[in-house]
Each structure stands twice: as structure tokens, then as C-alpha cells.
Amino acid sequence: MLDQNGNHSRAAAGEGPIVEVRGLSFARGSRIIFNHVDIDIPRGKVTAIMGPSGSGKTTLLKLIGAQLKPDAGRVSVDGVDVHRLPRDEVFEMRKRMGMLFQSGALLTDLDVFENVAFPLREHTRLPGSMIRTLVLMKLEAVGLRGARKLMPRELSGGMARRVALARAIALDPMMIMYDEPFSGQDPISMGILVQLIRQLNDALGLTSIVVSHDVAETASIADYMYVISDGKIVGHGTPDEMGRAESKWVRQFMQGLPDGPVPFHYPGAGYIDDLLASEEP
């Protein structure tokens, strides 16, 4: 049995989708965030997960990174169910995943250089000169080699994200998860980030998962897209297919229409009734 299992997982590794989500359900309190969701993330591609704010996109990344446990269903990364791994093997798995947080999540008491060196210092016993070379290579890749002496508070939001990206690729992971990489960026930073994600993915042979609600930017680099709403996948396909989608909902989302299946008005009592009521009940 063990042997078979071993063979099975070896067969799964290296081919097929790198992340397989099957029947995933997750609820926070009474609020259902995912309801039997299936997602495949293909190897070596940029896959976008899109959806309106609050649709649980970040939660999905945390479920893949095994920071949260699902209520039902299975998430396997590279053929291994991450929620069944013991704690130290989860940590081993995470060394092969990079994650870019929305805020960058740089360590505020370390400068840029040390932030990028942090995973190397924690997980390797490389000599200082080797770490320096590696860090400078990673910083060069994001164009911030000259900023290595700055502290995180001295960086703009876009620069902080690029430093975090350099840190995420420090251990040469097999995949990187981007949590809202474009939100709150000026057009130039946004352009740089869009280009970086695509270039890094192709140059380093990574797999990228981009969680975002910025349709145009994401569609321009994604190979495949999933759109989530109300805990379900409402559409998936290549960006071109999604642009021509039949679904009213997907069309509203992709084109940014103010009204449609997602109503402009938050549900409430009738407008006239509300106005006529003299006081808040």
C-alpha cells in the first residue's frame, strides 16, 4: 500500500496541475466563503483568480498555503494534500511557495537587503558573501539593487511590493502567489509589476497565481482565469474566452458595469417606504 501511495504521489509530481482544489468548502462563522469549489492551477502558467472584493480570494491563497484549514474538500500542491501534512512538512512545502502579501509584509525592523536575505539566513547556512550575491541578484531582478540600504518605511507602496517579490523568489520557489499585487498602485508601478510578474514567471519557470480584481491588468498577463462570486466559480477560461463569455455576471465583472446581476443597491427596504418612515426603527 505504502509503495503504491509513494508511486502515486511521484507520478502526480512533475505533471498535471501544480495545485488541485477539489470540493473545497470554507466558512467563517455563518458566512460561507467557498462552497464546493474546484480549481486547477496549471504548471508554468500565470493563472488569475478574480472576483469582487470580499469574495474570499485571499482566503483561497491562505488555504493553498495551509495557513487555514478547509471545512471540507482537498487542496493538493504538487500532488500532496497540504492539509494532511504534519507541521514540519508543511514548512518544507512552504519553502517551495512564495507569497506576495497585499501590504508587502516586509519586516519593518530590517532594511531592504536584510529583508531579502531573511529567508536565506533562516533556511540555509550559506556564507555571507554567497548570500550577498544572491540577494543582489534578486534585487537586480526587481530593479531595486540601488535601494538595498533603505528601510521599509522609506519605500513607496510599489517599491515595497517589488522588494517583497525579490524576497519571495529568494529561495527559488516553484510557484508564487500574488495577493492583490495591483491594488492601490499608480499607473507606472502597476505597469512595472505587471511586467515583472510575467517576466519572472517565464524566466524562472515558475507557476504564478494572481489574485486580483483589476481586470485589465490581470487579463493582460494571465494565461487562464477563474472568476469567483458568492463562494462559487462563475466562469473560467482564457482571457479572450472570458471577454466573450455568455454569463451576464462575468460580463458585468469583466467590463465593470455598474448594474447587473450584482445590484448597485445594497438589499434593503423599498426606497419610498424608507423615506416615509419618520425615524429609524
Partner: protein, 260 residues
């Protein structure tokens, strides 16, 4: 009435849940301490933040507490013509109670609140999540060094507070009020016991206080709701809870140690 009972019950359950979480938490933190022996640099950096930066307030408070004890003790003792015993009075009060207790309260306010705010903010800015995703356990990398630094710093601070306090009492008693220099020290030496007063009084008490205050501080930070209100509430809780814990424990320890 039922509503009140329900509220009380929910509050009680909440308290016990937090206590339980706190204990599990500290076990994980303690498990991370042996690994720190190979990376003592991390602890040293935290001792700077926790210990060295608390030094000024400890020294200044110690001098003043000692001086006040000298003044008040003299006023009381001089009525009995026993002002030579001023040294004993100052030293006993400082070693057994005031030294460890006041320095622990100051430590909670200075270092404990800073620890809670720092860890809470690291949580709010996703730094702890980020570490976890880099396969670094924040309990070992962030919390354990701070915990160990607090536990090591507290007895050192209390010892300095007590020593400085005695000097302050000497300064007022001998320097200003004219108590005999030799009598001040010799009476003190004949009455202050190394084991009871210095080791049990200063060192054991402050060691216990150090564990409790630092534990509360790092737990509140780690358990904080990751928003600005959450962190500020956690900081307040650290100061209030650890001060109460210090005063309560001080009674227990005094009863255990000095009750012949």
C-alpha cells in the same frame, strides 16, 4: 436576570478560553527556546529593546524610591531614637517588596506594552503571516527571543533597582539627615540575610514576575485583533493584567517565603 447570568457565563468562558490559549501558546514558545541557544544574537538584540532601554526609568525610579524610604523611615525611627536602623528599614523594604514589585510594574509599563504593540503591529501588517509563508515559525523567530530576553532582563533590572534604591536611602539618611555612616551599613548587614532577602526577595520574585509579565505581553500581542483598535486594546490589557498579576503573585510569594 437570566440575561445577566448568560453574560457572566460568556465572560467566564471567554476568560478560560484565553487562559487555555495562553498556556498552549507558552508551551510552543518554550519549545522554541533551546534553538535560541545557537542564535543567541536574536536574544541579545531583544535584550537591548527590553532591558537596556528600560534602564533609565528603573534607575531614576530606584533612586527616588530609596530617597523617599530614607526620608520617611528617618522621620518614624527618630522618634524612637533608633535612626541607626534606617539602613535596615530601607534595605528590607527594598529587597523584599519594593525592589521586585516596583521594577516589575515599571517593566510592564515600559517593556511589556512595547512588546505587545510591536508583536500586535507585526500581526496587523501581515509580517507574522508573511513569515509563516516563508516557512519561518513566528513563535520561534519573533516571540521566543523576546520572551527569553524579558525573562533574563527582569531580575537584572530588579537587582539594579534595589541596589540603586539602597544608595538613594544612604544618600538621604547619611548624607542629608546625618545618620551615622557605619551604623547605617553595619546594622543593615547584620539584619539583611543573603538567602531570605537577596536571593528569595529580589531574585526569585523578579524572576517569577519577569516570566509572568513577558508572557502576558507577548501573548496579548500575538493574540491581538489585527487592527489599530485591537492592538491598542491589547496594549492596555497587557499593562492592566500584568500589573494585577504582579501584585497578586507578590502576595502569594511573600506568604510562601516570609511566613515562618
Amino acid at each position: 436576570m437570566i440575561e445577566l447570568l448568560r453574560y457572566l457565563g460568556r465572560w467566564g468562558l471567554g476568560v478560560f478560553q484565553r487562559l487555555g490559549r495562553g498556556h498552549i501558546f507558552v508551551l510552543y514558545v518554550l519549545a522554541g527556546i533551546p534553538g535560541l541557544l545557537f542564535r543567541f544574537r536574536l536574544v541579545v538584540a531583544q535584550m537591548w529593546a527590553v532591558g537596556v532601554l528600560s534602564l533609565l526609568i528603573i534607575v531614576v525610579s530606584g533612586v527616588f524610591v530609596g530617597m523617599v524610604l530614607g526620608l520617611q523611615g528617618y522621620n518614624t525611627l527618630v522618634d524612637f531614637g533608633a535612626e541607626e536602623s534606617l539602613g535596615v528599614a530601607v534595605a528590607k523594604a527594598l529587597t523584599r517588596e519594593l525592589g521586585p514589585v516596583i521594577s516589575a510594574l515599571l517593566f510592564a509599563g515600559r517593556a511589556g506594552s512595547a512588546l505587545t504593540a510591536e508583536i500586535g503591529l507585526m500581526k496587523a501588517t501581515e509580517q507574522l503571516d508573511g513569515m509563516e509563508m516563508m516557512a519561518v515559525d513566528p513563535l520561534r523567530r519573533v516571540v521566543a527571543p523576546r520572551f527569553l530576553a524579558g525573562v533574563l532582563s527582569m531580575p537584572l533590572l530588579a537587582t539594579m533597582f534595589t541596589a540603586i534604591g539602597v544608595v538613594g536611602g544612604y544618600f538621604v539618611g547619611v548624607g542629608l539627615l546625618g545618620v551615622d555612616d557605619g551604623a547605617f551599613w553595619s546594622q543593615m548587614q547584620s539584619k539583611v540575610e543573603l538567602r531570605d532577602d537577596i536571593i528569595n526577595g529580589v531574585l526569585v520574585k523578579s524572576f517569577v514576575f519577569g516570566i509572568v509579565v513577558t508572557w502576558i505581553a507577548v501573548f496579548e500581542g500575538y493574540d491581538a485583533v489585527p487592527t489599530s483598535e485591537g492592538v491598542s486594546a491589547a496594549t492596555t490589557r497587557t499593562v492592566v493584567n500584568s500589573s494585577l498579576a504582579v501584585l497578586g503573585l507578590d502576595f502569594v510569594l511573600t506568604a510562601l517565603m516570609f511566613n515562618q
